[in-house]
């Protein structure tokens, strides 16, 4: 009996050790710290970002552990409250005085509190994903049989849930982050099982509107600015479509980062041998530092790491779907979040996506982005734990 008890104990503990996720996490931390350390060798800033990033990752690991104390059911029930809390913080940000929410680069996106700063939109991403997942789950329980009507109803709910934070973020205005929300919502909608016809109609409609809007901005940039789209956003879009039109200010940072990345060639220049200083090397342009330091091979390995993580999320989602669509959609939501950030950020560095201030999750320096990513990671980790437990019961 005693022996059995021991086995049960160790089994229970082993549910919480998800080797594949832990190994991936440790690899990302290593890449992140190495890259930030290298960026710091350019001596553009005084702060010790490596040390601070270690603090953020440690805090993040604590959060991951804390999340494991909740079970999926509790999270499911809490999801509306968490979502509305996120929305509330976004709303408070907009009406906060300049003293605590200073406008930086024309956008009011941060709470600047003594000692630290918070970007609420980063955290609201996770709460939104959570609530979207819960909403789909609830819908599927209520309407076991889907029809065009129920699908449309679900779609409407998902759109409303997404648009509330998106509109608040547009008001900041932070165009890039808002696009991330839309992308995540789009992915979840596709995966929610809503009828292709409805999705098709939605895609056609939205892409028509986007094309019209982009066309408008490119043709009439002055008019677009008058209509309230910030000048730098118009600039970025113009830059993307017509590189020769770029203002030197808009392209200078990018040009330096692009040159640095390219000069890494196949094997890179190694640690501490960066030749080209450029701004935001430790945050938005961290991939350029990786490219220059570790070359094509190192960069490809980092991309492969992300691919592995996404693959893990896909299989995890597929596996848990049967037991808990809620858990599966958390997985898919986090997958979408990572996918858009990684593709947009690396794509921007490589010159195939427009320049926006979107960090490379899990690698870029930044408290808010690290912590919010770690919350998402914690949730996914909880899903993985849940899945292991379920499997165990099944095989018993």
């Amino acid at each position: 009996m005693i022996e059995n008890g021991d086995i049960a104990m160790s089994k229970k503990q082993s549910y919480y050790i998800q080797n594949d996720f832990i190994v991936l996490f440790i690899l990302f931390v290593c890449v992140s710290l190495l890259a930030i350390y290298n960026a710091q060798q350019l001596e553009q800033y005084d702060a010790n970002f490596v040390l601070q990033q270690i603090v953020w990752f440690t805090l993040g690991a604590g959060i991951v552990a804390a999340i494991q104390f909740f079970d999926m059911d509790q999270l499911y029930k809490a999801s509306p409250y968490i979502y509305w809390f996120g929305v509330l913080i976004l709303a408070v940000l907009l009406i906060s005085p300049e003293s605590i929410a200073r406008t930086v680069n024309g956008a009011k996106s941060w709470f600047h509190l003594p000692g630290f700063s918070i970007q609420p939109a980063e955290f609201a991403k996770i709460s939104t994903i959570l609530f979207l997942a819960a909403t789909i789950n609830k819908h599927k329980i209520k309407y076991e049989i889907s029809s065009i009507k129920t699908d449309t109803y679900l779609l409407a709910k998902l759109i409303v849930i997404t648009m509330i934070p998106v509109l608040l973020i547009m008001r900041q205005p932070d165009f890039g982050t808002a696009m991330v929300y839309l992308f995540i919502a789009g992915m979840i909608i596709i995966l929610s099982g809503i009828d292709w016809k409805i999705i098709g109609a939605l895609i056609v409609g939205i892409s028509g509107i986007i094309a019209a809007a982009l066309g408008f901005i490119i043709r009439f940039p002055e008019l677009a600015q008058e209509l309230g789209i910030a000048g730098y956003q118009v600039d970025r879009i113009l830059t993307w479509f017509d590189p020769s039109q770029q203002s030197s200010d808009a392209t200078f940072h990018f040009d330096r980062a692009y040159m640095a990345l390219g000069s890494g060639q196949l094997f890179g220049k190694g640690m501490g041998n960066l030749q080209v200083p450029f701004p935001e090397a430790h945050t938005d342009f961290i991939f350029s530092v990786i490219g220059e330091s570790f070359g094509f091979i190192g960069s490809a390995v980092v991309i492969f790491l992300y691919f592995m993580l996404l693959y893990k999320l896909v299989t995890l989602g597929l596996n848990v779907y049967k037991h808990s669509p809620f858990a599966a959609y958390i997985s898919f939501g986090f997958l979408s979040l990572l996918l858009i950030h990684v593709f947009q950020n690396i794509g921007m560095t490589l010159g195939i996506m427009p320049v926006t201030g979107i960090p490379l999750l899990l690698i870029s320096y930044g408290g808010s982005s690290v912590l919010s990513t770690m919350i998402g990671f914690g949730l996914v980790y909880r899903v993985a734990v849940e899945h292991t437990i379920q499997n165990d019961y099944l095989f018993k």
């Binding site: 005084d46 003293s99 003594p114 049989i145 889907s146 992915m187 596709i190 995966l191 099982g193 692009y258 040159m259 640095a260 990345l261 390219g262 000069s263 890494g264 060639q265 196949l266 030749q275 080209v276 200083p277 490219g291 070359g295 094509f296 960069s299 490809a300 991309i303 992300y306 691919f307 996404l310 693959y311 896909v314 989602g317 597929l318 779907y321 599966a328 898919f332 996918l339 593709f343 690396i346 794509g347 490589l350 010159g351 195939i352």
Partner: protein, 712 residues
């Protein structure tokens, strides 16, 4: 129902597979693009980084100096030392305090001007940052602020204050006892730190540039390694050992802030000037800018794209500007200034009311053979300050009616136009043309010939020349009748005058000269006025050229200030080799025969030497340098509340010695009052100037002889 369920179950794996396939495609795109950027274009990017950029820096060189004819420095360069501070990025107040403390030991910054800028806040701040303990003490006080005080500040909690507000408040809490407890050394540190605080990162800020002593400069330069951001540099400024003497003609240069004149920006930029270069703005500094400016040292820096300097090469060796040697003899110049000033003073003091418009006295001394200007003096009296100051430029800028001194030119015009011939005589009595006032000489002189017309200054003789040139040949002229007049005579007369430089540019090496005022109307009466110097106006420089032309047997020489240009050398003691000498330049030879010119010269001699000559009573004939010349008095006027005040311009031109002229002069004192037995200001000036000239010449000859005998 069953069918639907089946379909639904199949939906998710299908869609997630599509999504995953898209993910795979997107990542493939990233890897491919990564390959393009890093492998295909990688070498290009690396080349781009290593491509070097060449920047040329131009280092200004000192301007050329200016010397007088005896190689005494008139315009020198004074080295200016300056201490600058260029903070690195992220420099904190404490860092600046460290630098200030070190600097305070090396330089002095405790003049009243420096210290009066120190505010109470500066002292509080100094107390706050100089010591960690003080800092903690003050911060603690802020934390312990009572509610009442907080309410006053409009906050409930101290953390609500912005950083700047909190800092101000912390400083407020420092007591007077604490912050007033500063030594003089502390005050100096505060003054220096205040200057350091003004600097923007990476931009040099001048901490001290006035009165930096060579010792301070050396001390700072030696200790640069422990003064991060501090630099010691040199610059120069113009220095004038002779003070204000001759300064208005030397001119000035722009300051670094003014840089090159905005209206001629392109002109300067195309000649390799930088915008903040100092250039000659007026006078000789402007005229000889090209010689004085020198050649900037050009250093080419080769830098890589990320700013590392990989090579330094001097492309063009710098060279200080060339030195100018002027024709002016500063010892003589100072003497002439003194003479002109004293005589003007004597004149004004004689009757300050009558002479209330006599503010200027001008004198030009020239070597008639070469055109070398020996002294150019202008003195002007400021009635408000009751002070006489230098205004040499007026000899070129101000034109006056010259009076009878022009009669030599009129006489020669008369000979040349064949209306008179040597020995022609006229009976001197007033002439009255219908409709104009009667015109006569200063007194009725009886019969005068060409010699006596000059020596006794007969206006009537000149009137007949003018009338005859105008086609009025009646002699004696029937007073009260109309004179026939050919207006072309005016132009003819002016043409003759211009051959002497009267009414023409003298060709002087100066950026500006007035050529005088040419009366717009013509008529026989006006031509008569013109013939005696009562119509057109001329500058003192023109008058000097005129008399020099007569002295020099009719050769009009270009007057000039520049004698030689010397190559720059490092030594301060001697001059460099001659780069260029200014040669005597004959502008023209007047048309008149040498025999005619000699008659005028003789007339000029008689002015001083014949008992009835207008200059005879002033002691000229006692001078052993045998002078010749011509006096002049022109009517001038000023208006006071619409009332005309009659005034007289007193003028005198002359040269010496009569047979071998080596010095010529023109003096004019405009707008003197009509006082009986007036101080003979022009004669006194003229005599003393020539006396001084020959005295100095004698001294120099003796010195030279002594030197020669020493050498033997």
């Amino acid at each position: 129902m069953v069918k639907r369920n089946k379909k639904k179950r199949a939906q998710l794996p299908f869609r997630i597979n599509i999504v995953f396939f898209v993910v795979f495609l997107l990542f493939s795109v990233l890897i491919m693009q990564l390959g393009v950027v890093q492998i295909l274009q990688g070498q290009d990017h690396q080349d781009e980084i290593e491509r070097t950029i060449q920047d040329t820096t131009k280092i200004p060189v000192p301007r050329g100096k200016i010397y007088d004819s005896n190689h005494e420095v008139i315009v020198d360069n004074k080295p200016l030392y300056s201490i600058t501070y260029t903070p690195a990025k992220g420099t904190q107040a404490e860092d600046r305090l460290d630098v200030a403390e070190d600097l305070a030991e090396l330089i002095s910054m405790d003049s009243e001007d420096d210290l009066k800028g120190i505010t109470e806040r500066d002292k509080r701040e100094y107390w706050y940052i100089k010591d960690e303990e003080n800092k903690d003490k003050a911060d603690e006080r802020l934390e312990q602020l009572d509610d009442e005080k907080l309410e006053e500040l409009g906050v409930e909690d101290i953390n609500e204050l912005s950083n700047a507000e909190a800092y101000s408040q912390t400083l407020e809490l420092i007591t007077e006892e604490e912050y007033e407890d500063v030594t003089e050394q502390d005050l100096e540190i505060i003054a220096i730190k205040k200057e350091l605080d003004k600097a923007y990162s990476l931009t040099p800020q001048i901490i001290k540039n006035e009165d930096v002593t060579p010792e301070e400069y050396a001390r700072v330069a030696e200790n640069l390694d422990r003064l991060p951001g501090v630099n010691a540099t040199t610059d120069w400024d113009r220095e004038y050992p002779y003070g204000n003497t001759f300064k208005s003609l030397l001119g000035s240069i722009t300051t670094q802030e003014q840089g090159i004149p905005k209206d001629a920006e392109q002109h300067y930029l195309s000649r390799g000037y930088s915008r903040n270069d100092r250039v000659g703005r007026s006078g000789l500094e402007e005229h000889y800018e090209d010689l004085l400016r020198g050649r900037k040292e050009q250093i080419q820096y080769t830098t890589t794209k990320n700013g590392t300097v990989v090579g330094t090469e001097t492309v063009v060796e710098g060279e200080r500007g060339k030195d100018l040697v002027l024709t002016i003899d500063m010892e003589f110049q100072e003497e002439v200034d003194k003479i002109v000033r004293e005589e003007l003073e004597t004149l004004i003091r004689e009757d300050p009311y009558q002479h209330r418009y006599a503010n200027d006295a001008l004198a030009v001394v020239i070597d008639p053979r070469t055109g070398e200007l020996l002294a150019v003096s202008g003195q002007t009296y400021d009635r408000e300050d009751e002070e006489i100051s230098n205004a040499e430029f007026k000899t070129l800028y101000d034109a006056h009616r010259p009076g009878s001194i022009v009669k030599g030119a009129t006489m020669l015009a008369g000979y040349e136009s064949r209306v008179i011939s040597p020995g022609s005589s006229f009976y001197d009595r007033p002439i009255e043309i219908a409709g104009t006032p009667s015109k006569g000489s200063w007194t009725q002189l009886g019969t005068v010939n060409d010699y006596t017309a000059l020596s006794r200054s007969s206006n009537v003789y000149m009137f007949y020349i003018a009338l005859k040139m105008g086609g009025e040949n009646r002699y004696p002229f029937p007073n009260g009748s109309k004179a026939s007049f050919n207006p072309a005579a005016f132009q003819e007369m002016r043409n003759y005058f211009q051959q002497f430089g009267l009414g023409a540019s003298t060709g002087i090496d100066f950026p500006f000269e007035s050529t005088g005022y040419e009366g717009p109307d013509v008529g026989p009466g006006l031509l008569m006025d013109f013939a005696i110097g009562q119509y057109d106006t001329f500058t003192a420089m023109q008058m000097a050229q005129y008399v020099a032309t007569i002295a020099n047997d009719g050769y009009r020489i270009r007057p000039h200030f520049l004698k030689e240009v010397r190559n720059p050398i490092a030594s301060d003691e001697e001059l460099g080799s001659v780069y260029r000498s200014v040669n005597t330049e004959v502008l023209n030879r007047i048309q008149m025969d040498q025999s005619y010119i000699e008659r005028v010269q003789e007339g000029f001699r008689r002015v001083f030497h014949e008992p009835r000559g207008t200059g005879y009573n002033h002691g000229w004939n006692e001078k052993d340098y045998n002078p010749a010349g011509k006096t002049g008095t022109a009517e001038d006027e000023e208006f006071e509340d619409g009332r005309k005040i009659d005034l007289e311009n007193l003028s005198l031109v002359g040269y010496a010695p009569y047979d071998e002229p080596e010095v010529a002069f023109a003096v004019i004192v405009p707008k003197t009052g009509k006082v009986s037995n007036r101080h003979p200001v022009t004669h006194e000036m003229g005599k003393r100037i020539l006396d001084t000239y020959f005295e100095i010449k004698e001294e120099r000859d003796e010195e030279a002889q002594e030197e020669n005998s020493d050498q033997d």
